[in-house]
């Protein structure tokens, strides 16, 4: 049941995106709120979304397309007023996975980006303290990458709890 406030929200964002970042952001076909965003326009787009009332950063995640040799970062941004959800997708190459961090826009991004860094090794420029969050310190490698080889015997150290 899309009440009128919700439709206005999405159209307003669609219009604004088309106006300011015409070539950098385009709507993915047969969806009304999913956008494919270029990496360099991500921060201004996020700042605009925040000002347009989308204060709820629901989720940051990444999908590893090994065949095409790129990561696809997926940002879910919600709106507390009308329960609306905008999805931003950013594609970065696997060789130098680098994107600027959204910690300045939403504080929730801090831990979400640390988890994506821990799992995929994607660098977030401007992140206050980018370090592993889930894996233990002595762990090398990025577990969720498709080309991650799990060597069970590698970690046998009897480290004391530091």
């Amino acid at each position: 049941m899309l009440n009128n406030v919700e439709i206005a929200g999405k159209q307003q964002v669609a219009a604004e995106f088309a106006a300011r970042f015409a070539d950098k952001i385009e709507l993915i076909e047969n969806t009304d709120s999913e956008y494919m965003v270029q990496a360099e326009v991500l921060l201004p787009a996020a700042e605009y979304l925040l000002s347009a009332g989308y204060e709820f950063l629901a989720d940051i995640t990444a999908v590893d397309y090994l065949a095409e040799g790129k990561f696809r970062l997926i940002y879910q941004v919600g709106n507390y007023q009308n329960g609306d959800l905008i999805t931003l997708k950013v594609e970065i190459s696997r060789e130098e996975p680098q994107v600027n961090s959204l910690c300045a826009v939403w504080k929730a991004a801090n831990w979400l980006e640390r988890e994506v860094y821990d799992m995929f090794g994607i660098e977030f420029a401007g992140h206050p303290d980018l370090r592993r969050i889930l894996m233990w310190d002595g762990f090398e490698g990025w577990p969720l990458r498709k080309d991650f080889v799990h060597q069970p015997t590698k970690y046998q150290g009897r480290r004391r709890l530091d």
Binding site: M135, F139, P143, Y155, R158, R159, R160, L161
Partner: protein, 190 residues
């Protein structure tokens, strides 16, 4: 004169009648001594006392910990046997119930806790994650079973095991304590 104790022990302990462990031939005194188990009356008194007051360590990891809490609640009351005194500090605990998945990051903590417990201590591996890694056995961060980390005495299968299964596990441990000669003590830490 070594008295061969082939007289059936009265079933006061928690061992149900048709329990497979009963089928073992009962060990005589010398066989026990050969195994290094010296059975004295003081030791029997101590085993009787400990059997009835196994204080578990407050140490829950995952979903099995919730079932462990349910075991102490009003419906499946573990305190009937005197086991509801959950001690927070490992110094005062007798049994470490490993309830949940041991991950590589938690492994040093589990070892540290086990070594901090005073000597007569036992371990109950509760749930398939603690027995053999369970559904997460092929994960990159899970230790496949508690017996890779600590010597385990009783395995309680289930994912999560029902509270009655945990109580039965505690009673099996008590039976193991009260009648040591019946149990084949197999401790292998790979």
């Amino acid at each position: 004169m070594a008295l061969k104790t082939n007289v059936r022990f009265p079933q006061r302990g928690g061992m149900p009648e048709g329990d497979p462990n009963n089928s073992h031939d009962l060990l005589t005194q010398e066989e026990l001594e050969k195994r290094g188990i010296l059975l004295t009356s003081l030791d029997k008194l101590f085993r009787w006392g400990t059997g009835w007051s196994l204080w578990p360590l407050q140490f829950g990891l995952a979903c099995c910990a919730i079932e462990m809490i349910c075991t102490t609640q009003s419906r499946f009351d573990m305190s009937r046997f005197g086991y509801e005194v959950f001690r927070n500090s490992p110094r005062q605990a007798d049994v470490m119930i490993v309830a949940g998945t041991i991950t590589e990051k938690m492994r040093p903590a589990v070892e540290l806790l086990y070594h901090q417990m005073p000597e007569p201590k036992w371990v109950i591996a509760m749930g398939s994650c603690a027995i053999s890694g369970g559904p997460f056995v092929d994960s990159y961060s899970v230790v496949a079973g508690a017996d890779k980390v600590v010597p385990v005495d009783v395995y309680v299968p289930g994912c999560p095991p029902r509270p009655e299964a945990l109580i039965d596990g505690m009673l099996q441990l008590k039976a193991k304590l009260l009648h040591p000669e019946r149990q084949q003590v197999v401790r292998d830490v790979k």
